[in-house]
């Protein structure tokens, strides 16, 4: 569903993304982990058609979104890092807007909005102004808007930053359900405990993909006598450090 091959992005002399490769299949939750400034957001934006690659291939459902027709864009859902819906509109007004923009009109659109309100338990706040909602509800609304049109691929950029643990767990439950229904999910995150929820992880450091594997496998990679039961955080630190040393030696 998502295919990234030898993806490169340069900003002047600075290489933000350096020959990155990975794929995400339908029904899979793939997490992009990495320190700040590693290039995760840049990869994201190239996949969503917001930024043009300097080289390489970034395809979603077989299409390059930068060139794709409107129909191709209707197959993806996007949830930005910052709340990027319209703060002055109510919850249902926001949803109705995005429904129409994705081509769900008239009764069909209204039905989709109602279903989404129910599915995400937003009925109580349907007529509340979005900007006034607590952060957890805002995130839920943003996710709801991203899924309104039932996309096959979902992009989530730091979706749970600033949210309490309960809301976070609720969120990941929903994501799991989505993945089970066949949606491909690409997530970026800072939180190691969240990384456990992913089917596979890609660790990005200095613009390069330094490891791609399941969480368990990554943990096993750094298991040593001194560290018999490493957490994902240990794995992450070790792998990034090792990659850094390798880069310096090269």
């Amino acid at each position: 569903m998502i295919e990234v091959r030898d993806l490169v992005r340069r900003f002047g002399t600075f290489t933000a993304v350096d020959h990155v490769n990975f794929t995400v299949s339908a029904g899979e939750i793939f997490g992009l982990l990495g320190p700040n400034g590693a290039g995760k957001s840049t990869i994201f934006r190239m996949l969503c058609g917001l930024l043009r690659p300097s080289d390489g291939v970034a395809r979603v459902a077989g299409q390059d979104l930068m060139r794709a027709a409107a129909a191709a864009r209707a197959r993806i859902g996007y949830m930005a890092q910052r709340f990027s819906l319209y703060a002055e509109l109510t919850v249902s007004e926001n949803l109705r807007f995005f429904a129409r923009v994705y081509g769900l009109r008239g009764t069909h659109g209204q039905a989709a909005v109602d279903a989404t309100l129910a599915r995400f338990e937003l009925e109580n706040v349907a007529h509340s102004v979005s900007g006034a909602l607590p952060l957890g509800l805002k995130q839920r609304l943003a996710l709801a808007a991203a899924l309104l049109h039932e996309p096959e691929i979902l992009f989530l950029d730091e979706p749970t930053s600033g949210v309490d643990p309960l809301t976070r767990r609720d969120f990941w439950t929903r994501i799991g359900v989505l993945a089970d229904s066949g949606v491909a999910v690409l997530v970026t995150s800072h939180f190691m405990d969240e990384a456990e929820y992913c089917d596979r992880l890609g660790i990005v450091s200095d613009g390069r993909m330094v490891a791609t594997d399941t969480p368990g496998a990554l943990r096993r990679r750094v298991r040593t006598a001194a560290l018999p039961d490493p957490t994902l955080e240990d794995a992450f630190i070790e792998i990034v450090a090792a990659a850094g040393q390798k880069a310096q030696a090269a």
Binding site: Y86, L89, R100, V101
Partner: protein, 366 residues
């Protein structure tokens, strides 16, 4: 495609309407401005403070003073007794003009000798000075007749003013305000709409959706167009019903030209916005573009007075052509053919500018 654009337009208008402050700003200030400016913009000269320096005790001099004092153009403000006093009064702006009648005036009149009277005028306000000149000459001519001075002028100029026989300033200003105010608002609102979206981060969310850049531009231009159109009509209504400016031409024609004009205004706002990064820069851009546009349009001062270079540049200015149309339709019953012909530059500029905005937004996305 249409559905998406409509959705965006609805969203924009809802956003504008919901914010109480924006609602206020769109409706109230235009109303206030119309009322204030229509009364302020007067080219008539009234109540000019006049200093009277009468060195002559005779009846003829008194008669002259009476005529000046009684005229609505002048307001006697000071009695002057010496040159120094005259100088002080003028310098300090206590008076804008001093009527100086020398000692020999009455004697000269009685003896049928040429008599002279002097008027000192404050040149700091040059336009006023010119007009004062005119009024004073008329008053003097009437006075001369009354004083029995054998002065039948060789030539009398009889004036007829077309379209505005009483030379009402407001008939001239209000149609102008229709054009100027509406375009400024259209530009400002559409520029800010786009800049705001980018600055708040919601623009990216739009780009990921099926919305194409062209559709986004159209959607973003519309709020500006709506606001501008409403403003224009507020002024039109005020002009027709409060100030009783006559409407000689066709109202539907005026409204349709206004719609076209608003498209151009919205497009200009978009271009400005697409070249800037923040709302502050967008606003600055609008100011920088709007000021020359207003000046070069001939709104405040006639196009004919401008240096040739300025006049040529001014031909690109949609306000200039719209002024001709609004003034023409209000005061002149301008022929539709002539109106359409005048509207061509407006349409052309609008089209080109929209194209520019489209190219700029697409370029920015790369």
């Amino acid at each position: 495609m249409l559905g998406r654009i409509l959705a965006l337009i609805v969203k924009e208008l809802m956003g504008l309407w919901k914010d109480r402050k924006t609602r206020f700003v769109i409706l109230i200030p235009p109303l206030v401005q119309v009322l204030v400016f229509a009364y302020a913009a007067t080219y008539d000269v009234k109540n000019v403070p006049l200093g009277i320096w009468n060195e002559d005790g005779g009846a003829q001099a008194a008669e002259l003073v009476r005529r000046f004092a009684g005229s609505p153009a002048f307001l006697p403000a000071a009695l002057i007794e010496s040159p120094a006093e005259a100088r002080r009064a003028l310098d300090s702006r206590r008076v804008a003009a001093v009527l100086h009648i020398p000692e020999r005036f009455s004697a000269d009149i009685l003896a049928r000798r040429p008599a002279a009277v002097q008027l000192l005028i404050d040149g700091r306000r040059s336009n006023t000075a010119l007009l004062v000149n005119g009024y004073a000459t008329t008053i003097l001519a009437d006075a001369a007749e009354n004083l029995g001075v054998a002065q039948t002028p060789p030539i009398v100029l009889q004036v007829r003013d077309w379209f505005n026989p009483t030379l009402e300033s407001q008939w001239f200003i209000l149609p102008g305000l229709v054009a100027v105010l509406s375009l400024l608002m259209a530009m400002l609102v559409s520029a800010l709409s786009l800049a705001r979206e980018r600055e708040l981060g919601t623009f990216e969310q739009l780009l990921v959706t099926p919305l194409q850049p062209f559709e986004i531009l159209v959607g973003k231009a519309v709020p500006g167009m709506v606001v501008g159109f409403i403003n224009a009509n507020i002024v039109v209504l005020a002009a027709l019903f409060w100030f009783r400016v006559p409407l000689q031409g066709s109202l539907p024609l005026l409204e349709s030209m206004l719609l076209l004009y608003m498209v151009t205004g919205g497009a200009i706002g978009l271009v400005i916005s697409s070249l800037t990064a923040t709302q502050q820069q967008a606003m600055l851009g609008v100011f920088v573009i709007a000021s020359p546009m207003v000046v070069l349009s001939g709104y405040a001062a006639p196009v004919a007075n401008m240096p040739a270079a300025a006049e040529i540049v001014g031909r690109l200015d949609p306000i200039r052509w719209m002024l001709v149309i609004t003034r023409g339709i209000f005061l002149q019953d301008m022929a539709p053919a002539l109106v359409l012909q005048t509207a061509v530059p407006i349409a052309l500029v609008g089209f080109l500018v929209f194209l520019l905005a489209w190219v700029a937004v697409r370029r920015a996305l790369r």
